[in-house]
Symmetry: C2
Subunit: 204 residues, 2 copies
């Protein structure tokens, strides 16, 4: 099966290949894909050979073919339903993000505890009360959640998500979390990204 | 020197070690660090040995010592100044994020083009007009930028950042961008993270 670093580059390749197809480019070399993906060409060839796909010398890869291959490897099938927990600045930005629907992710609900926010809608999606989380998950069929609550509320909402049957969470709250059994949590952290950027900026 | 996957895990180790120190844990085993970092214990040992640090059998690592080692490897020195381009939902969430200041990143300005937003302040930081970007960068000494503008404005603002001398950008706009020479751009994409989560959820 695929090593995690390769797997984690596949969404970038899908995005790049979809972009090439939109611009009418039907074939692409590994260096063309590499340039748009921000990855070294040799790494692209290595990753794609792990999927069992090879370009034709002098021509490159067939864009539509390769995109289908990469989607299959990522198991991108039908749409996934997403719930955004915390409808503040970050939660609203995520719920409105056009890149989600474009890749088969539909935000079906947001939850919050603030009476000024509950009952309103964000881009047509209703904000429900956090207390109704289990019922919202059951009625919408959400399988993925994005966690955008203040640090103090993170553990409680994570446990409530596990109890409601959501097993995959993308968290923006980087403090210490005890991850419930059987749940997968990925963390996005702007500070960590900036630390990596500043490392490369300081390298000669 | 450090392979990128190792380097990109270092900010997580710094966060975990700081967290252990805050909780009064002065030593930690590689599996303790691994558990909090969401990384396999063998990977932690391998990464740390690349920095030339080894734990003591049966005791583990000295937390304060290791944190200093990892910070040095990441070249985390003085504070870095950050400008947030686009003061909408996402830009405001980033500007208010407590995790930045805690790790030596100070948001010194936001820019926008919307007259309803320009001149207001977010968490005490003034929103300037995008037209003043060069002057704002010069007067604040910002070296890093976070890009949180609509897709149509991304290329123009990226070019303006390069012209103003900012060489490191964290972009939330995943469309095709032509990266100016000498600039490093990292992309955060919630959709890509959700694709990876849904892959692991579908793996037996
Ligand atoms: N990791 C990152 O890079 C990053 C970047 C920006 C913000 N953040 C973090 O994301 C979180 C959200 O940031 P924000 O700017 O949107 O904050 P915000 O205050 O605007 O929004 C938080 C929302 O969560 C709601 N909330 C509180 N308790 C809740 C609960 N138990 N259940 C559901 N909703 C609850 C609040 O009512 C509020 O609407 C914060 O923890 C912040 O530190 C992380
Ligand atoms: N990558 C991801 O995971 C992710 C997640 C959420 C949002 N997004 C993207 O982030 C961007 C911001 O999202 P949002 O919800 O905050 O949108 P928003 O509309 O609330 O904010 C965008 C802001 O940018 C400002 N702006 C427009 N042109 C500008 C320019 N030339 N210079 C400076 N500012 C300018 C607007 O006036 C507005 O205030 C969008 O492109 C969105 O698609 C990405």
């Amino acid at each position: 099966s695929l090593p995690p670093p390769t797997l984690e580059r596949l969404p970038v390749y899908v995005r790049v290949l979809d972009d090439l197809a939109r611009h009418g480019e039907t074939t692409a070399s590994s260096s063309r894909v590499a340039e748009l993906a921000g990855v070294a060409p040799a790494q692209v060839r290595k990753d794609l050979s792990r999927l069992g796909t090879y370009g034709t010398r002098g021509v490159g890869y067939d864009v539509a073919d390769l995109a289908a291959h990469v989607r299959r490897a990522l198991r991108l099938s039908d749409a996934h339903r997403v719930i955004v927990v915390g409808a503040g600045h970050l939660g609203q930005a995520v719920a409105r993000y056009g890149g989600l629907r474009a890749r088969g992710f539909e935000v079906v609900a947001l939850t919050d505890v603030d009476p000024a926010v509950v009952g309103r809608s964000v881009d047509g999606v209703l904000v429900r009360h956090e207390d109704d989380l289990a019922e919202v998950v059951a009625s919408t069929g959400a399988t993925l959640a994005v966690l955008a609550v203040p640090p103090g509320a993170a553990q409680g909402t994570l446990d409530a998500l596990a109890a409601a049957g959501v097993v995959s969470v993308l968290s923006f709250v980087p403090g210490r979390l005890t991850v419930p059994d059987g749940m997968a949590v990925r963390v996005v952290d702007v500070a960590a990204e900036l630390q990596i950027l500043s490392f490369y900026a300081s390298s000669p």
